[in-house]
Subunit: 274 residues, 2 copies
DNA sequence: CGAGCACTTGATTACCGTCAAAAACAGTGG
DNA sequence: CCACTGTTTTTGACGGTAATCAAGTGCTCG
């Protein structure tokens, strides 16, 4: 199915790991210490005392918890610049684990509280970070009520924007299918099937251990006229009214259409199976 | 199906509306103005400028947004003491609507920011409120990946605890089936079927427009030994190991078992259909 | 009492989960 | 470089759960 050279693959895998960032959260800059974690190691464990807040410097982290029937539920992914551990309870409700090799800045909450007292800006930024996290969870709530293909599309778009905002047409995802499945509330098989479906439609190229999306850089100037085709492909039907089309344009799938250039060339379903 | 007297019903319906509360959020007390909204009226609209924060004084509010295919997705319910509008973006991402007649305290964010500058406590409380909301959404994330019956059970427990924490064995829910369905990502028919199922099992009594749960007050002293029966009923299987049982006890369904006294008397499925 | 809405129930369909096997891939050692 | 091994992913067949479609019942209110 995949015809990527191993060169491309290596480039792909490095994209997620090497990117550092100069501290995006200004008020936290300079405080705390930097720690490194190996791939698959746990940074915080569920029920650990929540004494620190963590900012990802490089690599990818996910937070998760086990549900009663032994299934792992991933609550979120965190990339360079993201902050996790904001639960604000005595104990962490989620385990945080390194997906790749990771560097994090660790800040004591005590220290942070002291800063809050002296500097209003810090308080506001903390609030802002938590609010961003809240907004993300609310988006997710909406997403989890939608069919599998849309969940996967939305996930890819979200990851594309967050994990690698500077690249135009090549994006690497560090997590495994199982991680995606546990995040989207699907099974690994369904995730795989949806990815295959998107590949059949010419939207992505996926390979082992890292997913590569071929995305044309559109910068918002995608011809709206053609989006109907995309709509037809993803949803199996066209928007009936102009209003419906416009609403769709602001939806997860609509954003998909502006990112993936699926509107030219191959029409949905026309490709034969491998 | 229901044999409630109209007396009970009236009592039930009033329970949600009449309860006010002395401001639970101390630092916000005294600021802002109180506004009343009629049932079904919209308090904020999606894309409105987000200039205020709202605290529910009495009644019930829900927040929602339309998805691309015209389905309404409810993001949350808010009862007396709850705060909504915390998204912290320029514009509201969700519409807030009164489910019952509602009184809310409306606080300008500008005013709040001024308070934050002068009083660290205010900042911390704001942060705490946002974190509570975040934790709730994360719980929900877990829930949405589980089967329909569990979603409904968890929903009932959550509502029972939040909407009416003082009553022991009689609880009124102000929202319609459609609201529940839009919140849990189910259809109205499925919600109805799950409620019927629970009623058949003797856990609840549901009637038109308001759901009444008959809950024995247990105050945490439910005999653990019997919970296995409940487990068997809800999940169709027993916990195989002690560890599995213990994990389950801290799960949504486990909490259900400590609230609904379903462990004595009628065994699951023994009751004939109406 | 009748109209309209909310809810329930039943029959059928479709999507996704489960189980099983095969294929692709990474890492190891020869 | 290649064969071997274990892991991850893909693919297929099948079944179950929940959505859809369609009546039917119960509740509220004029």
């Amino acid at each position: 199915m995949s015809n990527l050279t191993s060169d491309t693959k290596r480039q792909t895998l490095r994209a997620g790991d090497d990117k550092e960032h100069s501290c995006r959260n200004a008020s936290i800059a300079g405080v705390g210490i930097v720690r490194s974690y190996a791939r698959k190691s746990q940074i915080v464990r569920e029920n650990d005392l929540a004494e620190h807040i963590y900012e990802v410097i490089s690599g990818t982290v996910c937070t998760w918890k086990m549900s009663s029937d032994g299934r792992r539920q991933i609550a979120g992914f965190y990339f360079a610049g993201d902050v996790f551990g904001l639960e604000n309870a005595k104990n962490h409700s989620l385990t945080a684990q390194a997906i790749t090799a990771v560097k994090v800045r660790v800040v004591k909450k005590q220290v942070l509280n002291a800063l809050v007292s002296s500097d209003v800006k810090v308080a506001q930024q903390l609030l802002s970070l938590t609010a961003v996290e809240l907004a993300r969870q609310q988006e997710l709530h909406l997403l989890l009520c939608r069919p599998a293909l849309e969940r996967v599309i939305h996930f890819l778009i979200d990851m594309a924007q967050r994990s690698c905002p500077n690249e135009d047409d090549l994006i690497a995802l560090p997590m495994h299918r199982q991680d995606i499945a546990d995040y989207l509330g699907l099974t690994i098989e369904t995730v795989s099937r949806m990815l295959s479906e998107l590949e059949r439609r010419g939207a992505i190229k996926s390979n082992y251990r890292s997913i590569v999306l071929y995305i044309k850089s559109t910068n918002g100037r995608t011809p709206i006229k053609k989006l109907g085709d995309f709509f037809e492909g993803v949803k199996g039907r066209r928007p009936k009214t102009d209003q419906e089309l416009n609403e769709w344009l602001t939806s997860p799938e609509g954003k998909a259409a502006t990112l993936f250039d699926l509107t030219s060339g191959s029409r949905w379903g026309e490709r034969a199976r491998s």
